[in-house]
Symmetry: C2
Subunit: 291 residues, 2 copies
């Protein structure tokens, strides 16, 4: 896929360190020609949009573990950025070693605790005697293997092979569960921020913050507000609004238009119309994503 020359100057903030699955997801979308900026927390990835990042990539949901709360805790806020796209990544844990190493040489396997757990079956059958060492991230494990003795291996994303010299993939897809996907959001600063030319999705999506009146038991309930959108709802998430009213919530409603080839203009006007209907019913609604 040829990328337009303007992408050369894009800066994309990702949850770091480089070599994580968030970085792999961003790389899958934007390739080698953009600059990747590694950030320590999901909040920092969003905040980078106010300084030096054009786009941010954050994990939104994993097919086994569910929604990423840290991401929704920013999306529920007053200044949540604006979602402009999504990337779906199949989580494929790989066994990485230095080049030339054979499987029977491996005595130590390093990775993040979760990845070690997710590859238990492979480790038990292929490397039952190896010592398992926990690291702060899968990428940190891969980085360590580069300067370690040849009997060390890491479980990490294969993007690490392109990042750290001298590594090779021994096995790909060694996780217990074959069906393990993570979905990421691509976020820009606000609705007015320019739309990068390389984001193309087949179906139209929107993300909307919806909340009822703060006095519980009055006015329309959350189900009435959401159904008044009259759009196909594909995800509903709830986070505390954290106002002085305990248990008042912000809902994050993701909608999708299944009618392919609808123009961006048609979809935008349909979503804007839906949001204005929430106001008529006495609820609050704010558009925080359109892609």
């Amino acid at each position: 896929m040829t990328r337009p020359p303007s992408d050369k100057n894009l800066t994309v903030a990702v949850l770091g360190p480089l070599g994580t699955y968030t970085h792999e997801a961003a790389y899958q979308q934007f390739g080698p020609s953009v600059e990747y900026l590694e950030k320590t927390t999901i909040k920092d990835v969003f905040d980078a949009l106010s300084s030096n990042a054009d786009l941010s990539v954050v994990p939104q949901e994993n097919s086994i573990f569910g929604s990423v709360i840290e991401t929704y805790d920013v999306l529920r806020g007053a200044d949540p950025g604006f979602v402009r796209g999504e990337v779906m990544l199949r989580i494929q844990h790989c066994l990485l070693t230095r080049q030339g190493v054979k499987l029977h040489d491996i005595q130590t396997v390093m990775s993040h605790e979760q990845a070690l757990g997710q590859c238990q079956r492979f480790l038990k059958s292929h490397l039952p005697l190896a010592t398992l060492v926990k690291t702060s991230s899968t990428a940190a494990a891969a980085k360590t293997v580069v300067d370690s003795p040849a009997n060390c291996a890491a479980i990490a994303s294969k993007i690490c092979v392109t990042l750290f010299d001298g590594l090779t993939v021994q096995y790909e897809g060694i996780q217990n569960e074959a069906s393990n996907f993570t979905r990421f959001f691509i976020v820009v600063k606000d609705r007015k921020a320019s739309f990068p030319s390389l984001l193309v999705t087949e179906l139209r999506h929107a993300l909307i913050q919806v909340s009822t009146q703060t006095l519980p038991g009055t006015g329309a309930d959350i189900s009435q507000l959401i159904s008044s959108l009259n759009l196909r709802v594909v995800r509903l998430d709830r986070r505390p609004a954290v106002t002085n009213v305990p248990f008042h919530d912000i809902y994050l409603v993701e909608v999708q238009d299944a009618e392919r080839y609808k123009s961006v203009l048609e979809w935008t006007s349909e979503v804007d119309g839906a949001i204005s209907r929430i106001g008529v019913l006495g609820g609050n609604a704010k558009l925080i994503g359109l892609w």
Copy 2:
């Protein structure tokens, strides 16, 4: 409140160790005449219903931190127990010491990391020189203070004073945020399990598992299914169904009838009718709570 003699024999499983806020919530509801069974994980608290517990008390939601995922991960399952009540607890962190200790004697304050964080302002103004020591739970800190030198204090629930001899409350409500509530569910084994006489709530509630067809994009969407219940929705939570279809979800829908003094029979028949409407639209629905 006089309790019927039958309650004497009740066994109530709680998230342990005894002295935690879950224990305090259960105690607020059931008092001193029942037996409390401490369990290590939320899953274990639910599982106790299949062996020696009549009731289980689990945290459902905190007003600042949101839903308790471990609880919803059981509620989304095939055999989630049956919610028969709720308890709301104001989280009031207390400074506890051995009896006779003065504030200026205190040199060490022990508690769970979160409680220490939530009382930062009090500690800074009243005990700026004290050493802070992290413990595995607030109850563990209180227990330790009993056998420690007199210059040790714990931040914990005041129920610890009734559990561990020789402790006294120095200060009550020392947390930064005045408005910090946790809501708990009272769960029995299944719908047929006998309803304890001491549970009385003013408003009728129900909890319903709802999911769409597994093929995305077909049939009614989740918003249509939920609005077809035609009941007042007060909470909507989403967890992955973890089937072989990635990103297929189970929604936990909590509804409430604002019409006071409706009979249990009327409410039960209204909820059962609502659930059968979901089936007509091609969705799945299962009643997992009624109180």
